[in-house]
């Protein structure tokens, strides 16, 4: 029995959430009294495995195959299925990335299990594991229990565990040679691409005023544009605003857009779905303006005003101008 941490890499580069997941593995390993192993799949991953082995782990598995060069759901599911059947872990942890969302539910199904996805915390009470996840886009939390014969599968939300708590060590690297043939892989992926070069680099902005669904209509955007101008800020947005075409995609903050860490982030009419929060919770100071006092954005905000943005935003713009003028 052990805990298996599945790390993510692409073209020889770590996904940064791999380290957070490894930190969670170390903490849960200590709480459950289980050794922690890590696995990395791909091709040409020797250097990555060596780097992972410098952490406090019982073992690092490399799953290397030329058919794993590009990620496919079928390929990754097949090889991790084989490793899990061999090592029989009690708990399998993944970073909750787009890639993991694509294959981990399939992998769990192979073991008649259900992946507990997007986990934000875990507790061990007398050997029993409780996984906490968000419901209703973060408006509620839920404690989850997993039963059944197979291992427990869980994917962990970005930022829920801190990579800087990782303990160093010296683990053995072991090669696991998976059996895989091209006929098993039905998805044929092409090279990743970007739509357009970004003209707006939100990551360089010192202040960002961001707008969400609460703005209701495109014509209302002038309210936040004016507030951004008062602050001398760049304008950002949550995904629905860009999806609707009200602002260009390059202004989107969140997991599918840009990750920003300005000194001031003002969220206007943004409820704070996790996809947005992961893109901005590193801001030094966060201000939230929202009509719903239970909106998840207030959980990360330093300052908040519960109220109608159509009253608050213009008043704030006027007050900022007054202060700056003084």
């Amino acid at each position: 029995m052990s805990i298996l941490v599945v790390l993510e890499q692409q073209s020889g580069q770590w996904h940064r959430m791999s380290w957070e997941t490894m930190a969670a593995g170390q903490q849960l390993g200590a709480a459950l009294g289980e050794p922690v192993e890590a696995a990395v799949a791909g091709q040409g991953i020797g250097a990555l495995a060596t780097e992972a082995a410098s952490k406090k782990l019982a073992k690092v598995w490399t799953l290397e195959h030329n058919l794993l060069d590009s990620y496919t759901a079928d390929g990754y599911t097949a090889v991790l299925d084989q490793l899990i059947r061999k090592t029989q872990p009690k708990l399998v942890l993944f970073p909750h990335t787009y890639q993991v969302r694509d294959f981990a539910p399939k992998l769990a199904t192979r073991f008649s299990q259900v992946l507990v996805s997007d986990v934000i915390a875990a507790r061990v009470d007398s050997g029993t594991l409780t996984l906490v996840r968000q419901l209703f886009q973060g408006r509620l939390s839920g404690d989850m229990r997993v039963s059944g014969a197979g291992p427990v599968f869980a994917s962990l939300q970005a930022g829920a565990w801190r990579a800087d708590t990782l303990e160093s060590g010296a683990a053995a690297v072991e090669t696991f040679a998976p059996v895989l043939d091209a006929g098993q892989i039905r998805q044929k992926p092409e090279a990743p691409f970007r739509e357009t070069a970004r003209a707006v680099d939100l990551t360089a902005a010192e202040i960002i005023v961001s707008v969400g669904r609460g703005i209701r209509e495109q014509s209302n955007l002038t309210v936040v544009e004016d507030l951004a101008q008062a602050f001398g800020a760049e304008l950002g947005a949550s995904r629905p605003i860009c999806d609707a075409g009200w602002l260009p995609m390059e202004r989107q903050v969140g997991s599918s857009g840009q990750t920003v860490a300005p000194k001031l982030y003002v969220a206007v009419g943004i409820s704070g779905a996790i996809q947005h929060l992961v893109g901005m919770k590193g801001a030094k100071t966060i201000v939230a303006i929202n009509k719903d006092s239970n909106a998840p954005i207030f959980e990360v905000a330093d300052y908040g005003i519960v109220g109608d943005l159509f009253e608050v935003a213009p008043a704030l713009a006027a007050e900022v101008r007054k202060t700056k003028g003084a």
Binding site: D74, L135, E319
Partner: protein, 256 residues
């Protein structure tokens, strides 16, 4: 192309949410419900594919009696017929349990393509499509923006993280979990609403689909999130509140 679209009915976005007395789910009595938003985009993509290539769009929905309203709205938008798996407490099943029922309902239909939204707005597990694909032995892909029919199979545009995309080809039949926002959603027309009244909704019970399986993953407790950060909230009228806020931004946070 015969397309099945799996949809879910969820509480409307602004619903007041309170844990139920059982502590295991929310109080649903006074809520109103609507189609899960990502599923609405899956339906839109299906209707556009049908307009381009012909075929049939069948809506599949598991849920209590009230879900019939959401199904009827999907038919009014242009789906041809529907299958309603009647289950009172969907939340008593886990993702695997729901996917098993959906897969059992899909099998006799022999569709070319199965679409669903990438996640639900209530549970947000984001797995039903992928699990269904595994149970049906079909290839799948997730977070799909666009579907293009090819001579053999399909080519899809998949969203990656940080503004990257990728095209993937795969054979049919296949299962796709659709991302929100890639199309403009249509409204039902008056004619569509009228026509929907005579469209078929076949009701099936979970027993007819092999029965509900006991969950392996279950919700023990639902509660309001604990705040990790101390937020200073400014009350009063807008003018007074913003004056306090600006004071803090200037002298406490020192960011303006």
């Amino acid at each position: 192309m015969k397309i099945i679209v799996a949809i879910k009915q969820v509480p409307t976005r602004d619903s007041p949410l309170h844990p139920a007395a059982s502590g295991k789910w929310i109080e649903e009595a006074d809520l109103s419900f609507e189609i899960n938003e990502p599923d609405a985009y899956a339906l839109e993509e299906a209707l556009q594919l049908k307009e381009k290539h012909g075929g049939e769009v069948v809506v599949l929905c598991a849920g209590p009696e009230r879900a019939a309203q959401t199904i009827r709205e999907a038919l009014a938008k242009g789906a041809d017929r529907a299958i309603h798996i009647e289950i009172d407490a969907l939340v008593s099943l886990d993702t695997l349990g729901v996917a098993k029922l959906l897969a059992a309902a899909v099998t006799p239909e022999k569709p070319d393509l199965i679409l669903t939204g990438l996640q639900s707005d209530d549970l947000g597990a984001g797995q039903t499509g992928v699990v269904m694909a595994e149970l049906l032995g079909l290839p799948h892909s997730t977070i799909i923006m666009h579907v293009e029919a090819r001579e053999a199979g399909i080519r899809v545009k998949r969203e990656l993280e940080n503004g990257w995309f990728q095209h993937i080809e795969m054979p049919l039949p296949a299962v796709l979990a659709m991302q929100s926002g890639s199309n403009k959603l249509r409204y039902a027309t008056l004619m569509g609403i009228k026509k929907a009244k005579s469209k078929e909704i076949r009701r099936v019970t979970s027993e007819e689909l092999g029965g509900a399986s006991a969950p392996v993953a279950s919700i023990e407790k639902v509660y309001l999130p604990q705040k990790s950060k101390q937020t200073q909230i400014f009350e009063g009228d807008a003018k007074a509140a913003v004056a306090q806020l600006v004071e803090k931004l200037k002298f406490e946070a020192r960011v303006i």
